[in-house]
Amino acid sequence: MTDFVLILVTGLGLGALYFLAASGLSIIYGLMGVLNFAHGAFMMAGSYAGFLTMGALPASLSVAARLAMAVLVALVVGAVIGFVVEVVLIRPLYRHHIQQVLVTVGLSLASVAAAQGIWGADPRTVEKPEWMASTTMLLGARLPNDRFLFIVVALAVFLGLQALLHYTRLGLIIRAGVENRTMVEALGINVHRTFTIVFALGGSAAALAGLLYSQYAGTVSPAQGGSLLIYAFIVVVIGGMGSLVGTAVAAVAVGLVQQLANFYAASGVGDLSVVLLLALVLLLRPTSMKGAHA
């Protein structure tokens, strides 16, 4: 029972990270039809922005305070990168999907290479607040506290995005645009401005995911964003491109399946199980990739 509780919370914590990584990707694809392969680069930027900020702040500040500052910096860095990428690289290529893929893949590869050149390819240890490195006893299981933080942050982001989508004009335009972008334009609404905002939001969410994932892994490395991106894509495909609720459900499912399979089958089977889950969903619900309402 204690093992199950531990696996459950760890799976939920990992699912929370997957949701953070996938949410921006999902809305960007749903609204703009852009498969953003540079999303991993956004995550890497967030993790390094956090790592460098924590290192630059005076050691007299507590690790938790420096982490909080790092989160703010990562959010801003993610938003700025998302904004610049949309305006400079994506906007000229709307409706040119192959070129979009090439550009975002190229940006991803180039940014990883640049990070390796600047900070080296080896993982570097990140500082972790004492509370996050500690555990809490719950139902007989000793649970790492960072999982709770990931879950709370993901819940806050999910609720925040839901509020944005359902109670603001921007959200209304996003939901309409996910359904029929051309018709939104035909109503006289400048959907391109919305694209830029969504890309910036997606960049922020990705940067936050990258930073928190580095806390989960205990290290930061140039390749980290890429490996998280693979799970983000799987989550988005399972959840339905453009559906935030679907993304949340899929993220939790992927996190749980991965952890349960790793524990009850064998270490490493978790990744295989996730791919099998993806195949199963696509076989049973082949329209999954076509998207849903935001």
Partner: protein, 254 residues
């Protein structure tokens, strides 16, 4: 202000003086190797309904899309004497064109009210014109548009463009697939709207055209082959058959 009172005031002002509100000159559209529109030219008078007619596939829908920039085109398009052919769709619409597409294209996942608030963020279904012309939509304000019947979706699509200040409406087959009773309701709405705002109407339903249209433009193979009064066309069975390939029964009703 976007209700009908405003539109009536505007119709009495400059622009409602009997000139043209929209002018299309030498419009060409090419999709890949297909030359869909081949030099289409016509004007839309500043009042009444102009019906754009023709057999299936002659380019009627493409003409409307080309006017608002949803189809790649060359040529000259003037909205109230201002060239708009180089403007993006958003700016053309904001400049005073309302577009009701074929097949309605309401946002099915959004409620009726949300569909309308996309255009009128402050009022949505609370706008006076909605209550007056589409009372059923007020009662269904919180219903998802995707769950509405075809006729109700058409009302949403029409209401959406009537909420904004427009100089001309482009309406594409508003009665397509509707039951006869609903066709009559749509015709009533169009007649009332046309009293204040000129309409360029793509329509296959000739009895409806006879009832509400003032002038007609007939396309064939991507070219204008006839312009004139609607009454003259529908009163001439030979001409109707020649241009549209259909017979027009005098007793037909919308």
């Amino acid at each position: 202000m976007t209700d009908m009172t405003t539109a009536l005031d505007r119709a009495a002002a400059p622009g409602g003086d009997g000139g043209s509100v929209l002018s299309v000159e030498d419009l060409h559209v090419r999709y890949g190797g297909s030359h869909v529109l081949q030099g289409v030219s016509f004007t839309v008078p500043a009042s009444g309904v102009t019906a754009l007619l023709g057999r299936n596939g002659v380019g009627k829908t493409t003409t409307l899309k080309a006017i608002i920039g949803l189809a790649p085109r060359t040529g000259r398009i003037l909205l109230q004497d201002k060239e708009i052919q180089d403007e993006p769709t958003t700016r053309i619409i904001r400049g005073g064109i309302g577009y009701v597409p074929e097949d309605r294209e309401v946002f099915g996942g959004l409620t009726v009210d949300e569909n309308l608030r996309l255009v009128d963020p402050d009022r949505g279904v609370e706008a006076p014109i909605v209550g007056r012309l589409f009372p059923d939509l007020v009662a269904r304000a919180k219903q998802r548009a995707g769950t509405l019947s075809g006729g109700q979706q058409q009302m949403v699509s029409l209401a959406r463009v009537l909420l904004k200040d427009t100089s001309v409406l482009l309406i594409d087959e508003p009665t397509k697939g509707l039951a006869p009773k609903l066709v009559t309701e749509v015709a009533d709405v169009l007649s009332e709207v046309a009293r204040t705002t000129p309409i360029l109407l793509v329509e296959q339903n000739l009895p409806l055209v006879r009832r509400i249209a003032d002038t007609v433009v007939v396309l064939d193979a991507g070219q204008v082959v006839h312009c004139g009064g609607a009454a003259e066309l529908v009163a001439d069975p030979e001409l109707t058959r020649e241009l549209l390939g259909v017979s027009m029964r005098r007793e037909g009703a919308a």
